[in-house]
Symmetry: C2
Subunit: 295 residues, 2 copies
C-alpha cells in the first residue's frame, strides 16, 4: 500500500488528496477552490457513512431521477436544494443583514419575468377566489428616507394553493402577479387574495425523500416580493401569515421572524369602501427597508 | 436573529442543525445517520465556498444535465462518482485488504450479465483486432489452496478502445467477454487481445468538467474480472498494463500497485503453437487470491 501512496495511486486513507492531486494543474483558481471544498467534504461524508455498494447505487439512482424529473417548468434539483436548506444558506451568505434592512428569503421556482405593470391599488386577483386582501406600506432606506419609484414585483399562489404557471389554462395568465412602483412618499398599495399554505411539488424523488424523512411538503402562506430601486441593493423576500399551521415547519426553511407580517381581519364597511374591496377583508401593512449599493 | 434561533427558524450559523431538527422524527435510523453526514458536510462545503447565486445556479444546472445525460446505456452520475474518486472510495470501504488477497477496483459501467460460458483456452476476441494475448494463472485461497470451479467473468475493450456495448452493430455481440471456470489445480487460461487505453465517455457534463479541471478522460489499458467461488468472497477487479502512458493518471483512480500485471512480448513459434496463437504474441500470468466468506 505504501507503493500506491508513493505513485499517487488511490488509497482509502489519502483518497481526497489523491483526487486533488489530479487537478493541481487547473488554472481556474476559483474552480480549484470550489473543488477543494467539494472533494474534501464529499470524501469525508462517504467515510462517515460507509455506504454499501447498494446504498451507493441508490444515491446514484436518486440523483439521476432528480435530473430527469426536471424540465422547462419543473426544477427538481432546486427543490432538493430548498428542502436541504442549501437555497436558504446561499441566500443568507449573499444577503447578510445590514442594520434594520428587510431580510431576504428564497426566490422559489415560480417567479416569472415581465409581470404586468400595475397602478397602485390594482387588484392582482384575476380569478376572484379566496378572501380579499389589501396590502400597503412604504419602501424606505435604512437611513429612514422614503424611496420613490421603487419597483415591487409581487406574486403568490391562489386560493387553491397553485401559482398561475402551475395551472396554465385553468388560472388566468398573470393571476396574482404584478409590478408596482412606490409613490413620492415611498408608499405602495394593492389588492390581492389572502395567500394560503401549499405543498411544494411532491410527486417526484424530492417528495419521496421528504416522506421517508417524516417531513411534510408544505409551505406556510406567504406573498413573494422582489424589490429594487436605483441606488439600492435589490432584495428577494416574502411576507408570511404568522398564525399559519406550517409557520414553524416550512418545507424550505424560508421563514424569518422579521418577515412575519400582521394580517388583520377588518369588518368595517367604510374602510372596505375606501380600499374598494368587499367587506369583511384582510389588511396587512408592511414596510420594506433597502440598503444603498456600495460605492 | 435570536428569535429565529429560538423558534427553530433558519439562521446562517445554525443552518445544518435547523435542517437536522426537521427530520428528528425519522424512524429510519440508517437514513437519519446518512442525512446527518450529508447535511453537515453539504452545509460546511457551502460555507467554505460561499457561492454566488450564479455559481449556485451553475451547480444546479450541472447536476440536472448529469441526470438528463443518463439513459439505459449511459450513466453519467456513475462517471461523475468515478472521476471524483467516490466509486473507488466506496469500493475501498467495502473491500478492505485481507492478507495477500487480490485487491479490488471499480466495476465500471460496461459489465454485462450473462457473458457466454467458455472453455479454458477459448478466444474472447471475436473481431480479431489488435495483438493476440494469452492470459493464464491460478485462483487460490489466502491459505494457498487451489480453488477449483471458481468463475472468472472477464471483459475488456477492443483494439479501437470501445466495449462491444458501446458499438452495438459494429462489434460482434459479446466480443472480448467470457465466463471461464478454474480447473482442478486452480488454473485458468484464455486467449484475447492486448487491451489498450481509452477515454471514458466525455461528450457530456462530466467530460466538460474534466476539461475545465485540466484532466484527460483516459484510462490505462486493463482487463476486467469478477471472480467468485463457493465459500469465498466475490471480487471485482482489473489487471493493468504497467507501462501504459496513463498508468499514473487513470481518470477514475482505479490503479493499484498490486494490480500491475507483467505483460510479456513473446516471439517463440513453439510457444505460440502450444497456445494456438499467431507468433509473436503477448502473454500475461496473474494469480487471483480469494478470502473465505465469514462464518
Amino acid at each position: 500500500m505504501s507503493g500506491d501512496k508513493e505513485k499517487g495511486y488511490f488509497t482509502e486513507a489519502e483518497s481526497a488528496e489523491v483526487v486533488m492531486g489530479s487537478i493541481a494543474a487547473t488554472t481556474d483558481e476559483r474552480l480549484h477552490q470550489i473543488m477543494d471544498a467539494v472533494i474534501h467534504h464529499l470524501h469525508a461524508a462517504v467515510k462517515e457513512i460507509e455506504p454499501t455498494q447498494e446504498e451507493w447505487f441508490q444515491a446514484i439512482q436518486f440523483l439521476t431521477k432528480t435530473g430527469q424529473m426536471s424540465d422547462e417548468w419543473r426544477q427538481e434539483f432546486i427543490l432538493l436544494s430548498d428542502i436541504l436548506g442549501v437555497s436558504m444558506l446561499v441566500d443568507a451568505i449573499n444577503n447578510r443583514k445590514q442594520g434594520d434592512a428587510t431580510e431576504t428569503t428564497v426566490l422559489g421556482p415560480f417567479h416569472v419575468e415581465n409581470a404586468p405593470e400595475l397602478e397602485n391599488g390594482a387588484d392582482t386577483s384575476l380569478d376572484r377566489k379566496g378572501e380579499p386582501l389589501v396590502v400597503h406600506g412604504k419602501v424606505r432606506s435604512v437611513e429612514g428616507a422614503p424611496i420613490e419609484g421603487a419597483s415591487l414585483d409581487v406574486w403568490q399562489c391562489n386560493d387553491d394553493g397553485f401559482y398561475d404557471v402551475q395551472q396554465r389554462g385553468i388560472q388566468p395568465e398573470f393571476n396574482l402577479r404584478g409590478m408596482f412602483h412606490s409613490q413620492k412618499d415611498g408608499s405602495y398599495w394593492f389588492r390581492a387574495a389572502k395567500p394560503r399554505p401549499y405543498p411544494i411539488p411532491d410527486d417526484g424523488p424530492v417528495g419521496q425523500l421528504l416522506e421517508k424523512l417524516g417531513r411534510h411538503p408544505n409551505r406556510p402562506a406567504h406573498l413573494h416580493y422582489i424589490i429594487g430601486a436605483d441606488g439600492y441593493e435589490e432584495i428577494t423576500t416574502h411576507i408570511f401569515v404568522p398564525d399559519d399551521e406550517y409557520i414553524d415547519s416550512d418545507a424550505v426553511f424560508g421563514v424569518k421572524e422579521s418577515l412575519l407580517a400582521d394580517f388583520v381581519k377588518v369588518d368595517d364597511p367604510d374602510r372596505a369602501e375606501k380600499f374598494n374591496v368587499a367587506n369583511p377583508f384582510w389588511e396587512v401593512e408592511f414596510d420594506f427597508v433597502l440598503v444603498p449599493t456600495a460605492g
